[in-house]
Subunit: 357 residues, 2 copies
């Protein structure tokens, strides 16, 4: 199926460290609860998981922020826990409690029993959504596919939901590393299949969300999280529709490991707000692009403060290529949509002077 | 008042980067809920705050872990929120909810109304506890005094308790930085007086706990947290009883800012477990000592895994001076005391070979 020409490719160009007119910007969780139109569609769907599994409604909420703001990319509306759900763990959401699984993964036998997920048969609702969104986007901006990292998925599967200290997942890693490695390996295989299926369905870039890698020690991060993201990067389709498909790795609290992240062969690293983006750029040079990194809490501040902070981050990055602007984590549910608008406009307006040749 | 000679000065020697026979070790929150004898004393006191304010019982729980384990330092049993409590905010603890304040600090007038705390009149129960503990320690190991950092205290005062994203404290910092700076300045003045009073009463080293500095961006950390710890370091009594009084700065999630922390003139930096201690040492050289940094969650793992992790951290630090072993954060309430014992013994046993000249 031939796709319409891309009208705005700033995002893909920046990920390839190519020149752009202004710095591209999108927001993690940009299709989300801070938008009243999202809340209305979600109400219609019933619950969060039904919304993810409903192709038309998932497409609708993916496009909602693009109707409001001049964003430079769309991101598939889905959840990082679709893979463990497809493995048969029974994902559900309790109000105010976050995700939960009916079955936990605690023993060698539990891990042994887990299937490697085949996206074509087990997660076709996701690739259906990708195809539908691409059709509806009609070349306006690129579409990002995504997955959770194996370690991040494993924490939810072992703990049975969210956790403060990941004591069960860490105890499995520390006491029976061979069991944890088997689990991570099955997850990595599943993620490779999952992301490649999204790419074949039309995702033009992919991001791996390693939300909880930053809870590990330096050594444990490399062994239990980064090694599996490295494996995934090596297993991905890197070119499609005649264009490179960039891979972004985002480890929250991973600023200290930027050099190791860059060495995986990814195209870009996502940075949270604790890392100075100018120093980060000096550390990795032109090896990879950088994505980030305004504190999402800044969106509770005044429009003037938001603009000043955008200016500060742009100045820290400086002139040159390879910056995709974003928040340092997902936008939070009760931010005023106007403040998100101020943020996005400020990026485009204030970045222009850094891109004049 | 003359004090008995110190029988074990490994901790103070290591903080001064002097040679030791084995690496000294203590644990943040070592007098705490994981010990059944602590829970019994706390029951007797009524609640947590009453325990902090009862000189004899605070002394008793301070000494409890030393009866069980060959720790190389004692730390005053108290809470970081004694200063805002003394400022009149009405600290209380709700079961399972963490600390709360009856009054919040939200406006310029709220900040204006806050007194600078004078330890001699407002917090004499703390200095009484220090004197009592020193007497009861009788030179066995040194006693550490402590305080929360101004930014960390400010987050609780503005939010009215714990917070996930510090949105109110950050909005004050971003929108009305002059009000936040006035608050931080009053806190820094109070902390200087508080720590100097602890030193005069007998604290032989002091640690500043910056639990929430790591939630700030690189720029905001330097402006709102580190600048005030720097001010405190400059205002402290640095020698007492004929010996240097070392200052340890501990910013949780502060590994990226180690060079800036070292530049304050502190004697040591506390590291959480995300930082590789060998790399940290290369970054700061002999400028400061390093304290840390085992993941406290490791104490849920088996004794063998605990010993292996202690060995790994010692190997990463390598031979030479300037290491105080600790956890990367406080010990958690439901760790088995025997596992803490395994940890402490492993540090002493496995470190000996790194200290042979």
């Amino acid at each position: 199926m031939s796709q319409p020409a891309l009208q705005n490719d700033r995002f893909l160009r920046a990920l390839n460290c190519e020149s752009v007119d202004v710095t591209p910007v999108w927001m993690m969780r940009q299709a989300g609860r801070y938008l009243p139109e999202y809340r209305a569609t979600r109400e219609m769907a019933g619950d969060f998981l039904s919304l993810c599994k409903n192709t038309e409604l998932a497409c609708e909420v993916t496009l909602q922020p693009l109707e409001r703001f001049p964003l430079d990319a769309a991101i598939l509306f889905s959840d990082i826990l679709t893979i463990p759900d497809a493995m048969g763990l029974g994902l559900y959401f309790e109000t105010g409690e976050g995700p939960r699984f009916r079955k936990q993964v605690r023993t060698a036998a539990d891990v042994e029993a887990l299937p490697i997920v085949e996206t074509a048969s087990d997660l076709s609702y996701v690739t259906d959504a990708v195809r539908t969104i691409r059709r509806e986007l009609n070349g306006r901006v690129p579409l990002i596919g995504f997955s959770g990292s194996p370690w991040t998925l494993a924490t939810y599967m072992v703990e049975g939901g969210s956790s403060k200290d990941f004591r069960r997942a860490k105890a499995m890693a520390f006491d029976t590393p061979e069991i944890m490695h088997q689990l991570l390996d099955k997850l990595a295989e599943s993620v490779i299949d999952y992301l490649n299926a999204q790419i074949k369905a039309g995702a033009q870039a992919v991001q791996i969300f390693d939300t909880w890698g930053g809870a590990l020690s330096h050594a444990a991060y490399h062994e239990f999280s980064l090694a599996y993201m490295h494996k995934i990067v090596k297993g991905l389709i890197r070119e499609n529709e005649g264009r490179k498909v960039p891979v972004i790795l985002f480890t929250k609290n991973g600023g200290q490991w930027l050099e190791s992240i860059a060495a995986t062969g990814c195209d870009a690293a996502g940075l949270d707000w604790t890392t100075d983006i100018g120093s980060a750029r000096q550390r990795v040079g032109q090896q990879i692009a950088l994505q980030g990194n305004m504190d999402p809490t800044m969106l509770y501040a005044s429009p003037n403060a938001i603009r000043a902070e955008v200016g500060r981050i742009l100045e820290s990055f400086g002139t040159g290529n390879g910056h995709v602007f974003n928040l340092g984590h997902g936008i939070t549910p009760d931010v005023k949509p106007e403040h998100a608008g101020v943020f996005i406009e400020a990026v485009h307006e204030l970045s222009a002077s850094y891109h004049r040749s």
